[in-house]
């Protein structure tokens, strides 16, 4: 029995299975509480819509969080990328909606990476500082062509195009993690930077690459986010930071289930759980402010359950 359990735990699908079980359990709770308003197949599909958006961002953050770094500028990057997309529509049309956010994301990602590498300052701090600049830039960008995405350009806000873009992003992320050096090296740097360096991993380079990739995925997320919401107001005073956390939730799931493999799937299911909880609260008609509380508790619980404790561990 024990051995079987151990074997199960070691199975490659244990983590994904566990997450799915958690998702189903949460679905069941809401379904029981509000049978008619929640959880029918077509509704389940609609919950996925927002989950997809944040999961794409979560994939990007995964590259840097796995190294123990963080990027506090993704909210500002996203806003700037979206506004840039809107700004160039008159010249580029649909191309602007797809290409510009990705380029802006990538560019700012590279910028973050280079600043972090060159200045040798903790990433949380450096990206917070840079987010101030990006926020300021988003105000200027908003002056170019306003803050609204024309309805004629919102195909990426709904099925099937959002799914196409999201799936492409997930595949790209999975591919990068499994079929390029980036995945291996970011993991290796996360596990032990000094050992990785000794193995010939150019640590600085791969950290910069990870930041660039994070930016790239935030750019892709911006396509979906803008398509879905079709408007974006510039934000200042670090208010853009509130946009950091939804993608981060997914990344936390990805990290918590990392040791079981399949980080991308974990991120997507994780975001789906978050999205489902929100929908569940709307369905029950209870104040959705509780949603934040429940999301916080769920996340803490999951991280707690998946954290292995050992004596004398140095945790910061």
């Amino acid at each position: 029995m024990r051995a079987a359990l151990k074997k199960l735990r070691q199975s490659r699908y244990y983590g994904v299975g566990l997450l799915l079980l958690i998702a189903i359990a949460i679905w069941a709770v809401f379904k029981l509480l509000t049978p008619s308003n929640f959880g029918d197949p077509e509704k389940l599909v609609s919950y996925l819509q927002t989950a997809l958006i944040y999961a794409v961002g979560g994939c990007g953050l995964y590259f840097i969080c796995v190294m123990g770094l963080f990027d506090f500028s993704i909210g500002a990057m996203m806003i700037l990328a979206e506004l840039a997309a809107i700004a160039f529509i008159p010249w580029l049309g649909y191309v602007s909606v797809v290409v510009v956010p990705v380029l802006v994301g990538l560019l700012l990602g590279i910028f973050n990476g280079v600043a972090y590498i060159k200045m040798r300052i903790p990433s949380i701090i450096v990206t917070t500082g840079l987010s101030l600049l990006y926020e300021a830039a988003s105000v200027w960008m908003a002056n170019v062509n306003g803050t609204r995405l024309p309805a004629s350009h919102n195909a990426f806000g709904s099925y099937p195009w959002n799914l196409v873009v999201a799936l492409a992003a997930f595949c790209l992320c999975g591919f990068l993690l499994k079929y390029t050096k980036v995945g291996t090296y970011t993991n290796a740097i996360g596990a032990n930077e000094l050992v990785a360096k000794n193995m010939g991993v150019d640590v600085d380079r791969y950290k910069a690459i990870a930041f660039a990739l994070c930016g790239l995925f935030v750019g892709i997320m911006s396509i979906l986010y803008l398509g879905y919401g079709t408007a974006q107001t510039p934000q200042t005073g670090m208010l853009s930071q509130s946009l950091n956390f939804k993608p981060l939730m997914g990344t936390f799931f990805g990290l918590a289930f990392r040791k079981y493999g399949h980080p991308v799937v974990s991120i997507v299911i994780g975001e789906y759980i978050v999205s489902m909880i929100f929908a569940g609260f709307v369905a029950m008609g209870v104040p959705t402010t509780i949603n934040n509380i429940v999301t916080g508790v769920t996340l803490l619980a999951i991280v707690t359950l998946t954290t292995k404790r050992f004596n004398g561990a140095v945790v910061k």
Binding site: N154, G157, V282, A283, G285, T289
Partner: protein, 369 residues
């Protein structure tokens, strides 16, 4: 004493404390104040502080603007009690203060109201009748109409409410208005009752607006109306877009107090049912209140609340109404430079009368040449 400085030919220095000068309503509000200052010639906007409606930043912004040498400040605060700090700061520094989009509630915050009354520098408030606005929108929703697209001709009975941030003072009042309206309807029509959902908050984000709309419909596909209480326009854009995506345009009545660029099309297609707006002139009057106080066009006396201007909302619920609104509020400013200069000389009663009079018809009368 700050107010003494302005006499020697220098410009009158006015500061603005606002939640954000970069979002839709915020930038309109700041622009109209700046334009007025320019037109008047002898006033300058020293600084605009974005405080994000975070209480401590609101109080800090008043202190900073006083330190910056302002003679008058206009503020859109987030909670009544912040005004107690703000007013005492202004009292100490001899700086005139007026609120826009806000007023101090005598019933909810009697102490703050008292502070305002006792101040010689709190000039007063310009605000909309938010409760009335809420009631009016519900009234519009309840009516059967035949001059609108087919799917939304019948009066609404199942209304969903989308808000922006939790606990925002303006939202509280509008919400009260919605509730009053629903109650009034239900009292009058016990056999045909109306329901209003709990508010769900979209945080001024269009994506969250879209998501909420989707979840409202998921929860209850018999909904026939959606109120987007505000949030600067983004949540509204997101919600309308989502309804369009779900093929529900022209099937669910959408009302809001935020204005859209493409309102005409939306009204035509049934994407929108009605809107209240035009309130972006409100900061202008707060500015004028302070400006005139600094100039000495009237004095602020301790012992009464100060000057209060109840700013009228413009309601738009048909294409024709919008056309007029667009011509006189959007395409050209409701006051031209000469008129602004004229407003800058008025005493309070005249100012109040001017504000009360502002409507589409009023602008039409002044500008139709």
């Amino acid at each position: 004493n700050g107010s003494g400085d302005g006499s020697s030919g220098e410009k009158i220095k006015i500061g603005v404390s606002i939640w954000s000068s970069t979002d839709a309503l915020g930038s309109l509000s700041v622009d109209i104040i700046k334009r007025a200052a320019e037109a008047l010639g002898d006033a300058e906007i020293v600084s605009v502080v974005d405080q994000g409606h975070v209480s401590e930043q609101v109080t800090a912004s008043i202190e900073t603007l006083c330190a910056a040498g302002c003679q008058g400040i206009v503020v859109c605060n987030s909670a009544d009690s912040e005004m107690a700090s703000a007013i005492s700061t202004c009292n100490e520094n001899g700086v005139y203060l007026a609120q826009f989009y806000r007023m101090i509630s005598e019933t909810d915050s009697p102490e703050v109201f008292e502070v305002a009354k006792n101040s010689e520098y709190f000039v007063g408030s310009v605000h909309e009748d938010e409760v009335g606005n809420g009631e009016k929108l519900i009234e519009l929703l309840s009516q059967d109409r035949d001059d609108v697209p087919e799917g939304i001709q019948k009066g609404s009975r199942n209304i969903k409410l989308e808000a922006w941030t939790v606990g925002d003072a303006t939202f509280q009042l509008r919400w009260q208005g919605y509730k009053n309206g629903v109650e009034a309807w239900n009292a009058a029509n016990p056999s045909d009752k109306m329901t209003l959902s709990e508010p769900v908050y979209a945080n001024t984000s269009s994506s969250e607006g879209a998501n909420i709309t989707q979840q409202f419909y998921n929860q209850d596909n018999t909904m026939d109306a959606l109120i987007i209480a505000g949030g600067g326009g983004d949540p509204l854009v997101g919600s309308i877009g989502q309804l369009a995506n779900m093929g529900l345009t022209g099937k669910i009545r959408v009302v809001s107090t935020d204005f859209l660029d493409d309102l005409e099309d939306q009204l035509e297609s049934g994407g929108m049912y009605a809107e209240s707006g035009g309130h972006f002139c409100d900061p202008l009057f707060a500015f004028l209140l302070v400006y005139n106080a600094v100039k000495g066009n009237y004095t602020v006396q301790a012992g009464n609340y100060g000057y209060e201007i109840l700013f009228p909302y413009a309601f738009v619920s048909s294409v024709d109404e919008y056309k007029a609104y667009k011509q006189y509020f959007v395409d050209q400013p409701p006051y031209d430079d000469d008129e602004l200069r004229e407003l800058g000389t008025l005493d309070f009663d005249a100012l109040k009368a001017a504000a009360a009079k502002l409507s589409i018809a009023d602008v039409m009368a002044r500008h139709a040449s």
